[in-house]
Symmetry: C2
Subunit: 471 residues, 2 copies
């Protein structure tokens, strides 16, 4: 027992549930996800209220987030209705010589998953969020580490989920929870946990990554962490669409108190363009916000103060004054060469409603700037027709990020079959995986090959998929 | 400069070659692989001779290994001729509301790869082995760390490859080499290296894994390490096919001095069955072998002596006496309960021609034994018709290994589309990946999503695949 968590009991239950979930036919796992989505939708009013109280986020935004969370659960049910997730490949037997036995390769669940809730999405990255949905879809029991920033919301979501899973006669250990930091860290170090996911700060994510890597049996661990999400506005786009771009920027970095992993943190604009004044205007209209937790608020104020205190920083504009406990949106401006210094503070994520406008003189400077961007979830390019027609900047940025946005904004991630919400370190701990979208299930599956095994010894759903594959 | 390696120059060259290889159309990368295979085949006589001198392995086996290496190069050229490797997924634009931009997701090369040669396969895991072939196929420049056990073979293979790549006008950095331990470790710690692979001992693999994980930007690192590859012979199979199984075992653990990652190291047999005597007979015929390196030879003798010195060990049989510098094949026998002790030495890989016969009384005991097997590349089950019809043992073993072999032997891996040569730790450092077969390319690719990007800004081969996908 660590603090208030009975880690051993929670992990024993998850371990006991693993064979059940692995053997449960995929369509029944899918039906479970749909039932969870229905229950979430039914309780949306009550849950939104709880989350508003917990987080200070806007009710409409939270209600929308519940819908997104249901979309995610539906998405993984859809994934299970097809065969792609199984990764089935066959090398048929050859009579020879040389006689070769068949190889049937498919993917199986990795076992109990530890899933850290994120602070900033109490539903979409919460108890029934993308990580839980993907893990259950894969057939892995889930142990959720609840986030202290929205405990009431998590507790109620857990109750709702437990009721549904109980009704479906899934074992208790299919979805468990830990509530303390110490309990979760003990679980990270426990060999019963076979895979873990995290969404949060670089400092916390890296600490957990190190625990995972240094285990006697290293733990597959998928962390989504800090991201500066640069935006490059090319000269002609700045000239012709300045007002629209300025408003788009304010609408992307301002809402939700700027507490989104995809918040644009750096915006490259041509020096002396009208865009800069337009950005200042738009930022002045951004409402103040109460941030998610006291800790996030303190960190935001400290980072903002530190950046403003630098000689290279100019305060371009601040948003509306807030009440007690609220913070103001802030746009800073710097020259491009301010990013040159090794470990430049402008290249670190500031979690909250702050954006740094970076002035450049010539598009030719942007290649070097792009190469200096730390691994990010996204990069965006605003270009007029004919600008960036060679695609050089896009190619350079593709090497640094997981998603490239063209004439759009990185927030408002589209959840689908082709989603990639990932990117090179420090955006995530593994650039090969995504935490959102259909391929998020990949994190919880591993291949196994059956060589010369008679069909009747294959799992039933593999046998069925094999019949479909062989046509 | 570290020792004899100019690490900085080698990594600069690889870095410079990365954009060229990434932009090279996949069919031209494929043609490069085919040219390398032809050159290898043309030089097979000379290379076999060099490898016999370097390793002491049998000429016929080495000649066969060159053929396998060419098969691997051809396999990845085939992979590039299709679209699967690209992992292309599309969420088409929606006019809305809400208007949604398109997302095009595909996989791109991760960048310069450091590839450690293995001691035991101077060709198939050598300069132009499976790791190099997969990395070049993905579009990653390769820096090979040559193995001290076959330096002449590696040097000649590098010369042959350089000539071909020069003729194809690939940049020098497309395939480079480091020859010292210190040089390779410096490269592991260098951010210019974006992915690394290793095949060898658990001790060395784990040390490199820790270096990779503790980098400021953790390095994706794929190590294939120790594996005991258990074989379970069920009672009826032992009774009816004892002679055949005994000969199969000797033919699997004996050749190549037992220095194969898939060598069966543990064989579970029913107590008092005739199989045991048959195994002893078969082992007595196994020729002595010169092991690959002095170090491997020393380790083998030490491990063998340590195991024999245990009270629980019985020496079942030894193979033919060898000359100076050669070692004898060895079959030991123990009771099942000898595996119960925590950290039982019988559960660790002994690299060389040694097998441990484990006597069981009842098939019911095998479930607990299966659960205790360390993560392995393979497990094999020998069963007569009707035995293991419930598939319980197979299911338990699937949780511990990467490949399940039915009435066959784990050595002689089939290289194909469905190959999985991987497994839970300590068999590999990441159970989700394979080092052999078509999916081995996965280790060198990462996804990127292009959102709302006009088709003309997509790489040409992605544009072409998109046309095919949309039909």
């Amino acid at each position: 027992m660590t603090g208030d968590d009975d880690v051993a009991a929670v992990l024993d239950a998850a371990t006991a549930a693993a064979p059940f979930l692995a053997a449960l036919p995929p369509d029944r796992r899918g039906r479970g996800l749909l039932e969870l989505a229905s229950a979430l939708e039914d309780a949306a009013g009550e849950l939104t209220e709880a989350a508003v109280a917990d987080t200070g986020l806007d009710a409409e935004r939270l209600r929308g987030e519940i819908t997104r969370t249901c979309t995610q659960l539906h998405l993984f049910a859809d994934v299970l209705a097809g065969d792609d997730w199984l990764g089935l490949r066959v090398d048929e037997a050859q009579p020879g010589p040389p006689r070769l036995p068949s190889t049937v390769r498919f993917r199986m669940p990795m076992g109990p998953a530890l899933v850290y809730e994120a602070s900033n999405f109490p539903f979409a990255f919460g108890v029934l969020g993308t990580d839980t949905a993907a893990a259950l879809a894969a057939g892995c029991p889930v142990v959720v580490k609840t986030h202290p920033g929205h405990l009431a919301t998590s507790a109620r979501t857990l109750e709702i989920a437990s009721e549904i899973l109980g009704r479906l006669e899934w074992p208790d250990g299919a979805l468990g929870a830990l509530h303390t930091e110490d309990g979760a860290v003990a679980a990270m170090a426990d060999t019963r946990v076979r895979v873990a996911t995290f969404t949060g700060s670089l400092a916390a994510g890296r600490a957990l990554f190190d625990i995972a890597a240094l285990r006697a049996d290293p733990l597959p661990f998928y962390a989504e962490m800090g991201s500066v999400n640069p935006v490059f506005v090319l000269p002609e786009a700045a000239r012709t669409r300045g007002r629209e771009i300025a408003e788009g920027l304010a609408g992307s970095f301002g809402p939700s108190g700027g507490q989104l992993c995809t918040k644009p943190g750096l915006v490259f604009v041509p020096r002396d363009s009208a865009l800069e004044a337009a950005i200042a205007d738009a930022v002045r209209d951004v409402p103040a916000a109460r941030l998610l937790t006291e800790r996030i608020s303190t960190m935001y104020r400290a980072t903002r103060t530190a950046l403003i205190s630098l000689d290279s920083t100019e305060v371009l504009a601040t948003g509306r004054r807030g009440g007690a406990g609220e913070v103001e949106a802030t746009a800073l401006a710097v020259d491009l060469h301010a990013l040159d210094a090794p470990g430049s503070p402008y290249l670190e994520e500031c979690f909250g409603p702050l954006v740094v406008v970076v002035r450049y003189d010539d598009v030719a400077e942007l290649s070097a700037a792009a190469a200096r961007i730390p691994g990010s979830l996204t990069a965006s390019v605003h270009a007029a027709d004919g600008e960036e027609s060679g695609g050089d900047l896009v190619r350079l940025l593709a090497d640094r990020v997981g998603r490239l946005v063209w004439n759009g904004w990185p927030t408002g991630l589209r959840v689908g079959q082709a989603t990639h919400h990932g990117g090179p370190y420090p955006a995530t701990s593994s650039a090969q995986f995504t935490s959102v979208g259909a391929p998020a299930i990949d994190r919880f599956l591993r291949p196994v090959a059956y060589q010369g095994v008679p069909d009747e010894a294959l799992p039933g759903h593999v046998r069925a998929a094999l019949v479909r594959l062989r046509g």
